[in-house]
């Protein structure tokens, strides 16, 4: 296995680990919401703290921006042609698409963790 294979495999492994954490947190949130289906206690808590709820919702802005940048750089790299690391433009867009993709996954999981922390006491 060459150096390219090692880098690709480690990136895939990081994303799989991030996905595992995100799966756990989002399944916990769904479990809490369905458990309190009758009284909607977690949502009532959000309703009673409008300022902190607004702060939590604003956090979703960061993944929304990075997901746009991922799409832009992915499309740019695919339109420029096949990957060649000698051409700085193609290599740069390729690497930036990777970086923003990983950043998006991590930010979404972090925001979901923040929501989970607010709902944890209803579990």
């Amino acid at each position: 296995m060459d150096i390219y294979g090692v880098v690709v495999m480690s990136v895939f492994a990081i994303l799989a680990a991030v996905g595992m954490i995100g799966t756990y947190l989002s399944s916990q949130i769904i479990r809490i919401l369905i458990k309190h289906r009758k009284d909607n206690a977690p949502l009532t808590a959000f309703l009673l703290n409008p300022e902190s709820s607004k702060h939590e919702i604003k956090w979703f802005l960061f993944p929304a921006v990075t997901v746009l940048l991922t799409g832009v750089f992915t499309l740019a790299q695919k339109l420029l042609g096949p990957i060649s690391f000698t051409n700085p433009l193609i290599a740069g867009t390729f690497l930036l698409a990777y970086i923003f993709g990983i950043l998006t996954a991590m930010l979404v999981v972090y925001v979901v963790y923040r929501w989970y922390k607010k709902m944890k006491r209803f579990a």
């Binding site: 994303l15 996905g19 399944s27 979703f60 991922t70």
Partner: protein, 132 residues
């Protein structure tokens, strides 16, 4: 048309829709009262749960897809299975943002952020004016 190009176009469309939905939602949130949005997610809790269910599917597909990609990269680092994973992940992330913002499907009542309702002239007053 190669699969690479189709993948690039599809993901960029999904990501662009995600961004547009959140930006429109954020600009509305700055104008309107936050309590209106919170009351809406309280009243339509099903949509809120469905949004997090979409996020859960996105995370599940991210996990499974990249575990398979990691195992396949041992023999062939040029595998393209992660592109199929990314299409699925970005599609469900888009569904999450659309359901979470609540901009689509369209609401029946317009949110006017707590502006006072104009008093409607009652029926008896109008008939009274006609008699005079």
């Amino acid at each position: 048309m190669s699969f690479d190009l189709i993948y690039g176009i599809t993901t960029s469309i999904f990501n662009f829709i995600t961004f547009i939905f959140f930006i429109v939602f954020w600009m509305k949130l700055k104008k309107m009262d936050i309590n209106v949005f919170l009351a809406r997610i309280f009243l339509k809790a099903d949509r809120f749960i469905a949004a997090f269910f979409a996020l859960w599917i996105a995370e599940i597909s991210l996990t499974i897809g990249y575990i398979v990609a990691t195992l396949m990269a041992i023999w062939n680092p040029y595998t393209l299975i992660w592109e199929y994973t990314n299409i699925s992940v970005f599609f469900f992330l888009m569904v999450f943002f659309i359901l979470f913002t609540g901009l689509y499907p369209r609401r029946r009542h317009k949110m006017n952020g707590g502006t006072p309702v104009q008093p409607q002239p009652s029926q008896s007053v109008q008939t009274g004016e006609k008699q005079q």
